[in-house]
């Protein structure tokens, strides 16, 4: 009657060790990119960090479903975008809590350095439909096809949005220059 589970404790704990090592490698290699992507998407440090924590927690729970380490980036971004969407679903049913009405703090993206300030302001004021594919390309290094898959769009639409995103950045830089705004970095 005692022959229910054959798997010995030793195997279980070595599987656990392997899972732990995979997870640590994932965190070390990708947490910075994933956080930066989250911050550019959400534009609020505290919320971005929360969403990243939720993302990695879910990643840990379903790590066994990640078969190929090469797909880890897209896998994490898929989880993150889902977690971020969940945030809005929750919000719909909540009464408005004054603490939750986040007024984007421009300093969140622009921390101390004056460097890149102008470009950061322009990038964060891009409409989300342009900002998001641009960040997937620039921060995460995704190809047009990968972005299309991630966002559920066709590739032509993605390429058009990427074109427009850079075009808008270029125009805004030019406009600033004409208005005599100092360029920092």
């Amino acid at each position: 009657m005692f022959s229910g589970k054959k798997k010995s404790t030793a195997t279980v704990s070595s599987d656990m060790m392997k899972k732990q090592q995979r997870y640590e490698a994932l965190v070390k290699a990708l947490h910075a990119d994933v956080y930066r992507y989250a911050l550019w998407l959400i534009k609020d440090k505290a919320i971005a960090e929360d969403v990243v924590q939720e993302t990695f927690l879910r990643a840990w729970k379903s790590l066994d479903s990640l078969k190929d380490e090469a797909a880890a980036k897209s896998w994490l971004i898929t989880i993150l975008r889902r977690e971020n969407a969940r945030r809005f679903e929750r919000k719909q049913f909540d009464l408005v809590d004054i603490d939750d009405v986040s007024v984007a703090d421009p300093n969140d993206i622009n921390d101390v350095a004056l460097e890149h300030r102008e470009l950061r302001n322009i990038m964060s004021s891009l409409n989300e439909e342009y900002r998001e594919p641009l960040m997937l390309q620039v921060i995460m290094g995704f190809t047009g096809d990968e972005i299309a898959k991630q966002l559920g769009l066709n590739k032509n639409t993605v390429m058009t949005r990427l074109f427009r995103a850079r075009n808008q950045i270029k125009d805004a830089l030019k406009a600033n220059e004409e208005m005599g705004v100092t360029v920092n970095g």
């Binding site: 990243v52 924590q53 990695f56 921390d111 990038m123 950045i169």
Partner: protein, 237 residues
């Protein structure tokens, strides 16, 4: 390739490998110059995306997962452990051995929190250095205060022992690290005055409205931290 298509392709992906684009640029220096300009802009865009990542984010992600793992471990106890536990309880009742069992949930949680890897993570969260003011602001949760020298506190974090919010201090002793847990006395499960694991000595005692638990590898040092705690810690009900 016409000018517009060329520009659109490069704006959409400055690192494009498109053969037509490469050819067009080779044939026309103005096009190549435009491409270089967009690449330069893209380098700036990339640099601007590289915002500062919060210190210790990676550690936090690892720590959070380790909590989760312990939770999972609890839920996935195999049936034979449960059966063994029932047998043990039955044996205890049958033979009427009324000695409290040292393996209670509180003691287990205490030992889980003094694991070397766990302590290392906690110390990282405190950046390895905590001043008296920080300790006192956390002590205030338990209506307590430190009045005097408790030793070099290297970490002060709240943690949950047996689901009760506690303060975990790590103190650098002469022969290693000593852990001190502060808990509200009225909520806690009883714990023997002294308890041990294979490598650790623990002691627990009441101090006014608080229960203090001290655990370390060196039994003598645990005793001396206990004495200094009794002298320096004050709790009001």
């Amino acid at each position: 390739m016409d000018e517009l298509t060329f520009r659109r392709t490069i704006y959409a992906d400055p690192n494009t490998q498109d053969a037509d684009v490469i050819e067009a640029a080779k044939a026309n220096p103005a096009k190549q110059a435009f491409w270089n300009e967009v690449k330069a802009l893209d380098n700036q865009i990339f640099a601007a995306t590289q915002v500062k990542v919060p210190d210790n984010l990676a550690d936090k992600l690892l720590l959070k997962q380790s909590f989760e793992e312990r939770q999972e471990g609890r839920n996935q106890r195999p049936w034979y452990i449960a059966m063994a536990a029932s047998v043990a309880v039955a044996a205890v009742l049958t033979f009427n051995v009324m000695q409290p069992i040292s393996g209670n949930a509180l003691a287990n949680d205490v030992f889980a929190h003094v694991d070397e890897a766990y302590m290392a993570k906690e110390m990282m969260m405190s950046n390895g250095n905590v001043d008296l003011e920080q300790v006192n602001s956390k002590m205030a949760t338990f209506n307590g205060s430190v009045n005097g020298d408790l030793g070099e506190v290297v970490s002060a974090n709240y943690c949950y022992l047996d689901k009760i919010k506690s303060l975990h201090l790590i103190i650098r002793g002469e022969n290693g690290l000593i852990n001190m847990f502060v808990m509200p006395e009225d909520l806690t499960e009883s714990l023997q005055e002294t308890f041990n694991s294979a490598t650790m000595f623990g002691t627990s005692f009441l101090l006014e409205s608080a229960k203090i638990i001290i655990v370390g590898e060196d039994g003598e040092e645990v005793k001396s931290v206990k004495e200094s705690a009794q002298q320096t810690l004050r709790f009001s009900a």
